[in-house]
């Protein structure tokens, strides 16, 4: 291949030719010949460069300088000044206009009010290259932990930071660790719960896809703190890309000696196993997840004993959620004080939400704990689509409830949400406007629970089914007045008696919509009307007619 010193690209799109590009090309070639540098400069005709209003165009490499509106008479100056003396002809160069007017990424409203700790690297680094993670202080916290800190110090920092489990329950992470750390056992396990199944929640997947090493580092810090040398990552099989990126990250960490024996030349060794789920929502519950890793049906176990005492293969086990783990490198590296400056006193740090539904800008949002729902929905999410009004926000998926307009200024944290009859959950946040029917939403989630109930305990298996029957009846216009009372009673009973967290929280969507939108239920039951126009009562009539016609035949 011939090497040229200069590449001159001339736009040969129809419009540039129309603007006189051809004449310029000839003039340029003549000039090159005159100065005897034909062998040094390659003149290439390219397709349309797209900037037709500025044509004819000439682009010169290696500098990548673009000349606009070039004419035949300019050829001499370009060759003599630029090609021979290396001085670009400023007067012909394209001026970058308007560029300063673009807002910085961090200044656009969607990002301006966010605080990125967990998502610090997402979208900014190449998740398939460990060096990019290392360049942004990756594995620095791990190094600090294993080299400068005793395991107890690590637990203390996490305790001090006030970090609470981001999977939904909000249990203090450091405290949980100390239970497992105090167990005298040769074998202990760390499990990363990446079985993110809550409808509407996909924060964990984004972290795994965008910054897998932060989770791996978090697991290793946990391992060092409690004295474990094996970690399991249990990922939903519905997340093939996350699985691929994790595999790659584990491999690279092993190659770099960051995962394996005697990390940083210390006595600390850690190995990691990646496991895929197989499509069972209940496996997000920690004891069901343990059963699944052990190769069993993913049915929850009775607690106590808690996994921190007796978990995977009967050994002390710490199960942390993806987002919790991704917080750890920052806490250990920058200290508890840094972390505590964000969020509230009882819920420090940030929380990532997956904002979706009837909202103008959907996506992943990381805000300090205690940020009001109004700020998230209206300032960051850009509000409700024009012509519609906010009706409710659903947090916590099938375990949560709906927050109505009157509580939109509630700070979102672990304390305030339960007061409203919902939970923080793992971070799904579905916004609904007046077009959504609350009875339909409650029915939707109950159907979900009925489908996903593992069937082990009666309250969840049978109770939710009966509640769903009642709701179906109501949405078909066949509800009875006593149904409301019945739903409430059954809901409370299931909450009290179900075996695991999934069952205990299953009635929440029904109970919370009953609390705030009772008149909507009554409209269905008494007036046989769906105010939002979602439930189709006429379908029932037609269905019945068909059915009756069939029988008549």
């Amino acid at each position: 291949m011939k090497i040229y010193r200069i590449h001159a690209l001339i736009c040969a799109g129809a419009q540039c030719i129309a603007a006189g590009g051809n004449g310029f090309e000839e003039a340029l070639k003549n000039e090159l010949k005159k100065h005897n540098i034909e062998e040094e400069v390659s003149v290439v005709e390219t397709g349309c460069m797209g900037a037709c209003q500025l044509g004819p165009l000439l682009v010169v490499y290696p500098e990548g300088i673009m000349y606009t509106n070039v004419e035949a008479k300019d050829a001499k100056e370009i060759v003599e000044e630029h090609f021979l003396k290396g001085r670009p002809v400023k007067r012909l160069m394209w001026k970058k206009e308007g560029e300063e007017e673009f807002p910085e990424l961090k200044d656009i409203p969607f990002f301006a009010k966010q605080t990125k700790i967990v998502l610090r690297n997402c979208g900014l680094i190449n998740p398939e290259d460990i060096n990019e993670y290392i360049a942004r202080d990756g594995y620095k916290a791990l190094a600090k932990a294993v080299a400068e800190m005793e395991p107890k110090d690590v637990i203390d920092v996490v305790k001090e930071s006030g970090l609470r489990g981001r999977g939904g329950a909000g249990f203090p992470t450091g405290l949980k660790w100390s239970f497992a750390a105090n167990q005298d056992s040769e074998e202990k396990y760390i499990i990363c719960n990446a079985d993110e199944g809550d409808p509407g929640a996909y924060m964990d997947r984004s972290i795994l896809e965008g910054d897998p090493h932060s989770v791996i580092e978090g697991m290793m810090i946990t391992g060092y703190a409690i004295g474990s040398s094996v970690g399991y990552i249990y990922v939903r099989a519905e997340y093939p890309l996350a699985v691929r990126r994790l595999k790659m990250a584990i491999k690279q960490a092993k190659q770099a000696g960051l995962l394996g024996k005697n990390i940083f030349g210390t006595n600390f060794s850690f190995d990691m196993v990646l496991m895929m789920g197989a499509g069972a929502f209940v496996c997000g519950e920690e004891t069901a997840l343990i059963n699944s890793i052990e190769g069993k049906r993913g049915e929850p176990r009775k607690k106590p004993p808690f996994p921190a005492i007796s978990g995977l293969f009967g050994k002390p086990t710490i199960i942390n959620n993806v987002e919790t783990l991704a917080n750890l490198p920052v806490i250990v590296d920058k200290g508890a004080k840094f972390f505590k400056q964000f969020g509230t006193e009882k819920s420090p740090g940030t929380k990532v939400f997956a904002l979706a539904g009837n909202v103008n800008i959907s996506g992943l949002v990381e805000v300090p704990m205690g940020t009001s729902l109004r700020k998230i929905v209206f300032d960051i999410g850009g509000g409700i689509p024009e012509g519609h009004t906010f009706k409710g926000a659903l947090t916590g998926g099938p375990s949560g409830g709906v927050i109505p307009m009157e509580f939109i200024d509630t700070p979102v944290d672990y304390e305030s949400l339960p007061d409203l009859g919902t939970i923080m959950g793992s971070g799904g946040l579905i916004i609904m406007d007046e077009r959504s029917c609350m009875v339909d939403v409650a029915k939707f989630f109950l159907k979900f629970t009925v489908d996903e109930s593992c069937g082990k305990c009666v309250p969840c298996r049978e109770g939710t089914r009966q509640m769903l029957k009642i709701l179906e009846r109501i949405t078909l216009g066949r509800g009875r007045e006593e149904d409301i009372d019945r739903l409430e009673k059954m809901g409370e009973l299931i909450k009290l008696t179900a075996l695991c967290g999934l069952g205990q929280t299953a009635p929440n969507p029904v109970l919370s919509t009953l609390k705030y939108f009772k008149e909507e239920y009554l409209a269905h039951i008494i007036d046989k009307k769906c105010p939002a126009g979602v439930c189709q009562f006429s379908a029932l009539k037609e269905g019945r007619k068909k059915h009756e016609a069939k029988i008549a035949h």
Partner: protein
């Protein structure tokens, strides 16, 4: 990759990686970053990526480095493409294959930002 055996080595690698990230953006004239999380792909990022590659090939432009990245979080604007050129990064939103071709032609090759599609600068 060499194994990292001590913290000192990690520190060195970090310094080196930081520099090489900077150098790299200087080495390849243009860095094109395509947001390739699940949401991005579902919104069509793969077609966009293919369009970018084919356009670069068609125009015989080899001075660009294409990097796949995770999601920025701004799912609404997916597929998101970021172009880093002349030490400046610009983010384009809701990019289609056709738009991607034009971004390559105008911005990547000629350094002219396609203002109307820009959502922000980096």
């Amino acid at each position: 990759m060499e194994k990292i055996k001590s913290i000192e080595e990690l520190r060195k690698l970090r310094e080196h990686a930081r520099k090489s990230l900077q150098v790299r953006s200087g080495e390849a004239k243009v860095k094109i970053m395509v947001s390739m999380g699940t949401v991005g792909i579902a919104a069509g990022a793969r077609d966009v990526l293919m369009a970018i590659i084919s356009e670069l090939e068609k125009r015989q432009f080899h001075d660009a480095q294409i990097v796949e990245r995770g999601s920025l979080g701004l799912d609404n604007e997916e597929p998101v493409v970021a172009v880093e050129r002349d030490n400046k990064t610009v983010f384009y939103g809701k990019v289609t294959a056709e738009m991607a071709r034009e971004i390559v032609a105008q911005h990547v090759i000629n350094g002219q930002i396609v203002s109307e599609w820009v959502i922000a600068k980096g």
